[in-house]
Amino acid sequence: MNAIPDSNIFAATNAVAWPLGGGGTFRHPQASASAVALAFGDPAGVQASFQARYRGFGSGAPSAAVNPDWKALPSSRADPHAEVFDRLIDLKVSTATIAMHLQDAWRTGLFRQLDDLLDEENWHPGDTLPTPDSFRTFLRLVIMLGRPPRPGLGCTDSGNILASWRRTEDRLTIECRLDDELRWVLSRRLLGETESAAGICKVKNLRSRLAPYEPEVWFVAHDKHSRP
């Protein structure tokens, strides 16, 4: 990873601050400045997108000179697009807290998937956003699995993250729930027969539950781009 100047980190944290808090000094509860820098591989780009969305709030302290109406602007929570964007940032910052476990390419790929999942052009207004609790379970799952290839990402109606791995006919889908709970379903071709199974377990028990189905088919990277 390239070193990011402190000024950029400061700008990124400030950029996060105004949409979320509307004033004061922002400190994400789970993120240090360096974690935020890790979350935003391109702080300048992130800052630019914030500035485009929240004119006058992008850098430095908000002031009447920058935007005379800033006090009258609605909070981001009142704007569904801003709410989706805020959640995207929350999830990226959460990822940054475990960045030391992930290779840059894996993390960048995950961020691209999150961008797609929470793309405002495709997100249906009123749908439940992916919950931070579910996403934390997803991150713990990734760490527990060691070095799994990056899964496909989805989201249930209740905001739980879905992770899916496919290898020809073999497929595994895991719903990440609150408090490390996983709801999984698989279909696996073994010895010429297709078997299916489903279950609910904690993250720490997943490997033993999947062991009879030889889960390496999903969890061993098959190309250099998918290794974490």
Binding site: G154, L186, H225
Partner: protein, 156 residues
């Protein structure tokens, strides 16, 4: 509106939001559907879809007509997909999990609306089977459906 059973050779088209489409993690291309695309929400009586043969011949024009009708009532986004399956295949898949479903046309919400009834006890394995085999053909929304949805959203 009275309900009628839909014949086994006929087809259902179900709208699937982008977040329930299975995508290639490298390219982002749609490669299938996630099982939860077929999960009932708490307020759903049956699994909703459009009955393709409701639109008559030619068969090749039915999906576009069904999407346009759906988009006039509900939001359709570019990365959403529609899942197509034959009624007989869907019933057979449910039967493998001892679920004796009824597939009916009821016109509820839009004229071609169909519903898979008695689906309440569907297991996650059944949802996976539907997503991977019985109801697995995916179709991208037509540009006409997207346009109709946009116009409707602007008018709101």
């Amino acid at each position: 509106m009275p309900t009628t059973n839909i014949p086994d050779p006929d087809h259902l088209l179900r709208h699937v939001k982008s977040r329930l489409v299975d995508r290639d993690p490298q390219t982002g291309a749609a490669i299938g559907l996630l099982p939860q695309a077929f999960e009932l929400t708490p307020d759903e009586r049956g699994l909703s879809a459009s009955w393709l043969e409701f639109f008559g011949d030619p068969a090749s024009a039915q999906p576009a007509a069904a999407m346009a009708e759906f988009a006039a009532v509900y939001d359709v986004r570019k990365n959403d997909r529609f899942a197509c399956g034959a009624v007989g295949d869907i019933k057979a898949a449910c039967g493998r999990f001892n679920l004796k479903v009824r597939v009916v046309h009821d016109g509820d919400g839009h004229p071609s609306h169909a519903s898979v009834r008695r689906f309440g006890g569907a297991s996650l394995e059944l949802l996976d089977l539907l997503a991977a085999e019985a109801w697995a053909e995916i179709v991208a929304p037509t540009s006409a459906a997207l346009q109709i949805s946009k116009v409707r959203a602007k008018a709101r």
